[in-house]
């Protein structure tokens, strides 16, 4: 069964083409990720699914319902966490949570259980009497997420819920999403964190209003065409410069204190030893590696014109 069906969807803002004709089906119970930077068109797509925008071309159906016609029916089954903070700044953390619980008519017993669970994951309990407006950026995100989760909707739409959220809280947040998914909820989530793709059943890489790839994360990895190596060096910047001048590489990217280098052709061991000497010993080690989603995304962006 399809939960969300998107066909040839296009959306423009004046002359700006925000989404340039995308098609995508999201299955019931799927945890689906839209992976891409700000300005790629993710929010436009999510807002249209939530019946807040109307497509310029193409169609979107939610549980078979048309987003331009069955607006109130669709809103009944959706939970939506917008990207911009939309809670009551002058209510406390707990008041906001209780307000949203009441709005969605969560039964009293369920509400108590849910509050405890959400406090545990968000670690917001010590701040429960603080006004929402006085929370730090990341804590606001956690509160907004908690409010979207307080009733358990059939389809959950989350627009960059982990924006500005620290690694520990991101980790915990995804554990929660996995649990909600196990209850059968369909989840569509956008993120600019590439590593979060691994948590999804399927992902769409989103860039410049287009989707260059849709697949399971493992399949995306398998389809990466170039031999890829993780390289350690005594001086990363000098090492990158060395390989750039060699002109044999497809991509050279810094990843923390290592380089990921992909080649047009698989270099043999002799070549590596030769490079080690040529570089004056900067090259410390090299190891063939599986591409991460970030490697794949960078590859898909390829020579794409930044100004587009």
């Amino acid at each position: 069964m399809t939960a969300i069906e998107i066909k040839d969807f296009e959306k423009n803002y004046g002359e700006i083409k925000a989404v340039k004709g995308i098609s995508l089906d999201i299955g019931k119970g799927e945890l689906f990720g839209l992976i891409g930077p700000d300005g790629a068109g993710k929010t436009t797509l999510l807002r249209t699914i939530c019946t807040l925008l109307v497509p310029d071309k193409g169609s979107i159906h939610v549980n078979g319902l048309d987003v331009t016609r069955n607006i109130s029916d669709i809103r009944m089954i959706l939970g939506y966490m917008p990207q911009r903070f939309s809670l009551y700044q002058d209510l406390t953390v707990e008041q906001n949570l209780r307000f949203f619980a009441d709005l969605f008519q969560v039964p009293a017993e369920e509400k108590t259980r849910r509050l405890a669970e959400l406090y545990r994951f968000s670690r917001l309990e010590p701040f429960k009497s603080r006004q929402a407006g006085a929370l730090s950026g990341g804590m606001k995100q956690k509160l907004a997420l908690s409010c979207a989760l307080i009733h358990t909707p059939e389809i959950l739409i989350l627009d960059e819920p982990t924006f500005g959220v620290d690694p520990v809280s991101r980790d915990e947040f995804w554990q929660i999403l996995q649990r909600i998914r196990e209850d059968g909820t369909t989840i569509l989530v956008s993120t600019a964190y590439m590593d979060e793709a691994n948590q999804c059943d399927r992902v769409a890489l989103f860039f410049n209003g287009k989707i260059p790839a849709i697949d399971k994360p493992d399949n995306l990895r398998r389809n990466y065409k170039y031999p890829l190596f993780q390289i350690q060096a005594t001086n990363i910047r000098a090492m990158a410069e060395f390989f750039r001048e060699l002109n044999l590489t497809h991509t050279i990217q810094a990843f923390g204190d290592t380089l990921h280098i992909s080649f047009a052709q698989l270099p043999d061991d002799n070549l590596w030893t030769q490079w080690q000497q040529q570089s004056g010993g900067i090259l410390r080690s090299w190891e063939s590696m599986e591409p991460s989603i970030e490697d794949i995304f960078l590859d898909q962006m390829g020579g794409a014109d930044e100004s587009e």
Partner: protein, 252 residues
């Protein structure tokens, strides 16, 4: 290293809001020319520290010097010696490139001849000399990043505070921005940067990790990885912060 070498030095710096201790006796030194990664969990107090170091918020107790100036008595002067840039690149989209530079020059109170001189050199450095009259909104992201960072350096500050400069940015633009950070460092500036991308923390000379108002780790990234026997700073961060949370729960 004597104390004149520090760009930032704090001793037991503390800030309370009512009963809540947002920043709890933090002591750290950032060397001149250093890229210092200021990491932490959400709500740990990072922004409060940055606001104090920027001279915007008075501490409750403790001491700090920024660019050699005292944050209690010389907070106005501090503002002239630091730059600040947040995640939004803070440029006006509907102004031309030149108008944005003039605007920032005006805010920093640069005299007209000095502004003209710095504008020319900034436009050249970012490769926009021919495009000064173009609208900022038409610029590719990479140029916007360069321009925004350049604007926050117009008054030639000693230290620049970058508050999550790469949040929401695509992976290529993120890497380009770090090239710019290194360029800024090469100009002799001290860079004080926050990020939630742990791979980026490895580009810093040293990092601190904050949780619940305290600094719970401070060292070079490779030393932290060695100490905690992890291969990435992401794992180090998660380990340190989770240990701390566990320890606190044990106390309760």
């Amino acid at each position: 290293m004597n104390q004149n070498e520090w760009a930032v030095e704090t001793h037991n710096l503390t800030r309370r809001f009512g009963k809540f201790v947002a920043v709890d006796k933090i002591s750290l030194q950032v060397a001149k020319g250093e890229i210092f990664g200021f990491l932490g969990a959400n709500g740990a107090g990072k922004t409060t520290v940055i606001r104090m170091l920027s001279g915007i918020l008075a501490p409750s107790s403790g001491d700090a010097q920024v660019a050699g100036l005292d944050i209690y008595s010389q907070s106005e002067k501090i503002k002239t010696r630091i730059g600040y840039m947040s995640q939004k690149f803070s440029l006006y989209e509907d102004l031309t490139i030149e108008e944005n530079i003039n605007f920032y020059g005006g805010i920093y109170g640069l005299p007209p001849d000095l502004l003209a001189e710095r504008k020319t050199s900034l436009l050249e450095r970012v490769g926009l000399a021919e495009a000064a009259r173009r609208m900022t909104r038409d610029l590719p992201l990479g140029f916007k990043q360069r321009l925004a960072l350049g604007c926050s350096l117009l008054h030639d500050p000693m230290i620049i505070f970058l508050d999550e400069p790469t949040s929401g940015v695509d992976p290529r633009a993120r890497r380009n921005f770090w090239d710019l950070i290194y360029e800024t460092c090469d100009l002799g500036k001290t860079v004080f940067v926050t990020t939630h991308f742990m791979d980026e923390s490895e580009y810093c000379h040293r990092v601190s990790i904050m949780n619940d108002g305290r600094i719970i780790a401070l060292d070079e990234p490779f030393k932290l990885k060695k100490k905690y026997n992890k291969t990435s700073m992401q794992d180090v961060f998660i380990t340190i912060v989770k240990n701390e949370i566990g320890r606190k729960q044990g106390e309760q």
